[in-house]
Structure formats: C-alpha cells, structure tokens
C-alpha cells in the first residue's frame, strides 16, 4: 500500500539525530512491547508479513505521532483483535474474560534463544529464474492497496540485476492470506540519476531486493 511507512526519498523530516550511547530500551515498557510482539510472533497465528502490514495499516497521522515501540504495541493489539485471540471487552477490562484459544504456540523461556534467530525464507522454486546477473530490468509501476515490498521511489525505473538471491517467500501474498507463493528474489541496482533527477549525485547507486513479480525485462 502507498502508506506513510514507505518513506524513501521524502523530504522534510529533518536531520538524523544519533543518540550517543543509546540504551537498547529507553524504558521498561519498550522492552515489554518488543518481547510481547516476539512471543506472539512465535505463536504461529500470523506471519512476519502480516505483522509488517499491521504497522503499515496504521493511519499516517497515527503512525507519525507514535514512537517505534508504541507502533509495535498498537500493531499487536490490532492483530490480536483481528485474529480473535482477544476481544474488545478484554482490552477494555485489561484482563482476560474468557479462556485462551487452543493451538496457540506458547513460547517457553527455554525456546527463547532459538526463537530470536531469523529462520530461512528460501523455498523450492517452481520455475527457473527469469533473470540473470547483468540483465536490465524495469520495476513495475504497481500500487497495490495491500502489502508490498517494492518501495514507491523504485517503481517504474530501470536497473540491473546484480545478484540472484534464490527463491523466497513472497511477502505480497503471504501478508494477505499466508500463501508463501515463493518467487525469485534479486538485488537490483539503480543509478541515483535514474531514480531521482539528472542532477543527482553521479556517484550514487541504490539497490533494492526485488521479487520477480516486481520486474519486467528492459
């Protein structure tokens, strides 16, 4: 979706302000927000793509007004309600009013360390890769209202396939109904002047990780 999350190339957000010696969490609730999201991610009710979409669907003014872990908390509440794991009356009460649903995988302390390591998103390919290293490709000018990983700034532009990453879970379908629908994934590199304007830095190159359905031969 063309949401506020898709920020590449926007103007007006001001300078980057690094914080010296930044702690992992600025307050206790941030760590709890992260941990709750990770534990419920482990539960197996939704996947990472649905989870990302949950944040992207926050209205732009809400998204911008919230800190990172506030968004995570909002997203968690939204997914819990959508998936029927918790209902509105419980959110209101601040307590469980009914027993939990069955078949929700509970993360045990012993499984935490393994759960923090990212799994593999590589899958068996149904067909050979359409593109090879060095091929010129044009990204499609698509505007799905659902989750996609093709950023707006890189749509409709010509780049070169620099690497073939393998065949991976396709976020665009995975976010909607969990269908992994594996697709070939490529690193596609663009000249800065192709993405921006002719006066852009001639020594700038930008790459995205692009799934095959995002690409046409150029």
């Amino acid at each position: 979706m063309n949401g506020i999350h898709d920020m590449g190339g926007m103007h007006g957000f001001g300078p980057v302000v690094p914080e010296p010696n930044e702690p992992p969490f600025h307050s206790t609730w941030e760590g709890r927000s992260l941990a709750l999201n990770r534990a419920m991610g482990f539960a197996g009710v939704w996947n990472i793509d649905r989870s990302r979409a949950g944040i992207e669907e926050l209205p732009p003014h809400v998204y911008l007004a919230m800190s990172y872990y506030e968004r995570w908390a909002m997203r968690l509440q939204k997914l819990l309600l959508e998936c029927g794991l918790v209902d509105e009356s419980e959110i209101k009460a601040g307590h469980a009013l009914r027993p939990g649903k069955p078949n929700v995988r509970k993360l045990s302390p012993a499984d935490v360390d393994a759960s923090l390591i990212r799994g593999s998103y590589a899958r068996q390919a149904a067909a050979p890769a359409r593109f090879a290293i060095g091929d010129r490709v044009r990204t499609r000018n698509i505007h799905p209202q659902t989750h996609t990983r093709l950023p707006r700034y890189a749509r409709g532009h010509v780049g070169v396939v620099e690497s073939v990453r393998g065949c991976h879970v396709f976020p665009d379908t995975s976010a909607i109904d969990g269908r992994e629908n594996p697709q070939w994934l490529y690193a596609v590199v663009f000249e800065g002047r192709e993405l921006w304007d002719p006066d852009a830095d001639p020594k700038l190159r930008i790459s995205i990780e692009a799934f095959e359905p995002y690409l046409d031969a150029a």
Partner: protein, 208 residues
C-alpha cells in the same frame, strides 16, 4: 535495566502506551498465550547478549584473516558460525565491503529491517523518518549528520533492505592499526561503521 526506566522515574503517572502494554501483557498471560519469564528472557537477550560487539568481532576477524574474509563475503552466516564468532546467525546475511572506491550504507526505507543477530536492536535513528527518507536520496547529507565526509569520487552504494536479506558493512581497516590484535581492532568497530554511517578510527572507542 535501562537507566531511563520511566515506570518509576516520573512518579505514578503512566502514559497511555505504558498502560496499553501492561494490559496486553496481563491479558495474554491470563489467557495462557505468553509466559512472562519468556518475555524477561527476550529483553535480557537484547540488553546483555545480542549487540554490535558480535559484528565487531566479525569485522576484526575479517581484517586479520583473509581466508575468513573470503568465506564471510561468500556466505556470512555460515562463516560466522564456523569461526565460532556467534552461536547462531539467521539466514540471508550478506556482508558488503567498503573499498577506496565504494562506501556502503544500509537502510530499510519501509520499516526497520536490520541484522539483529550480529548488531542487536537497531538504534532509534535507524528506525526514524529522517534516516529512512534521506538515506536513499541524500546519503552524503546523512553522512554529514554523522560527521562523516567522503571524497566526491567515492561511490556511495545504498542497500535498501526490502526483503529478508540483511546487510552488514565491513569497513576498511583504518591506517595506523597494522599489527594490532584482533581484540584491539574489534574495539574500533562501532555499530555505525557496520551500518555504513560511521568510519572506524583509532580513537573511535569512546563513540558508539
């Protein structure tokens, strides 16, 4: 625990978000979906065990061991595990190397994708709008915000983390550090160096 522990720092007044997070934890625990001890363990992992010191060891090893560096560039996760530099590293980790000609910078314009396994949690600036918006269109301006200036003829290569691939920058070893031990070298490699917004310098120890 963080020094900014605001559950206590600002008296009894809790923000809406603090209340929301607290309520969610209560509800999910009562419903049997989460074990608070597992939550404790997740927080503890990122506060004490998983952080940029892991990546720094990887970079230092690459500087002193050409064979390791070759393997790292080939398959970073496998190389790091085989070298005993981390117990576990997720798949699809890609090491990109700075050279005299090219400087690499990593961003996730869409969210906050970051190589957590080797760098820990992303810093706030990495997840915030200024960096995500400008890294791809004005990376030299962003570098200036970090006090980094590169020669005009250095190519800047920005990697937007738009899939499950994750990137770690292997910076160039600073001059004047020949003969340093691997452990000494690792102290120069800050988190920012491995994101591409910093450069290792022999006096970098005091910085992040």
């Amino acid at each position: 625990m963080s020094a900014h522990d605001d559950d206590h720092a600002h008296g009894a007044e809790l923000s809406e978000t603090q209340l929301r997070v607290r309520a969610l934890e209560t509800i999910l625990t009562e419903k049997g979906y989460v074990d608070p001890a597992a939550l404790d363990r997740i927080v503890e992992a990122y506060e004490t065990r998983i952080g940029p010191h892991i990546g720094a060891r990887v970079v230092a090893r690459a500087w002193v061991d050409a064979g390791f560096k070759r393997q790292l560039m080939e398959n970073a996760a496998e190389a790091i595990i085989a070298a005993g530099l981390a117990d576990r590293v997720g798949d699809h980790l890609i090491a990109v190397e700075n050279t005299e000609r090219t400087h690499n910078m990593v961003v996730c314009t869409l969210c906050s994708c970051y190589p957590w396994d080797v760098l820990g949690l992303p810093p706030t600036w990495y997840k915030a709008a200024p960096y995500r918006s400008r890294a791809v269109i004005d990376p030299r301006g962003v570098l200036a915000d970090f006090g980094v200036t590169l020669p005009d003829d250095t190519e800047i290569r920005v990697w937007d983390s738009t899939a499950e691939t994750r990137f770690i920058v292997v910076p160039m070893q600073p001059s004047g550090t020949d003969g340093w031990s691997e452990a000494q070298l690792a102290t120069l490699v800050t988190r920012d160096c491995m994101v591409g917004t910093g450069l290792p310098t022999p006096d970098a120890k005091a910085q992040r």
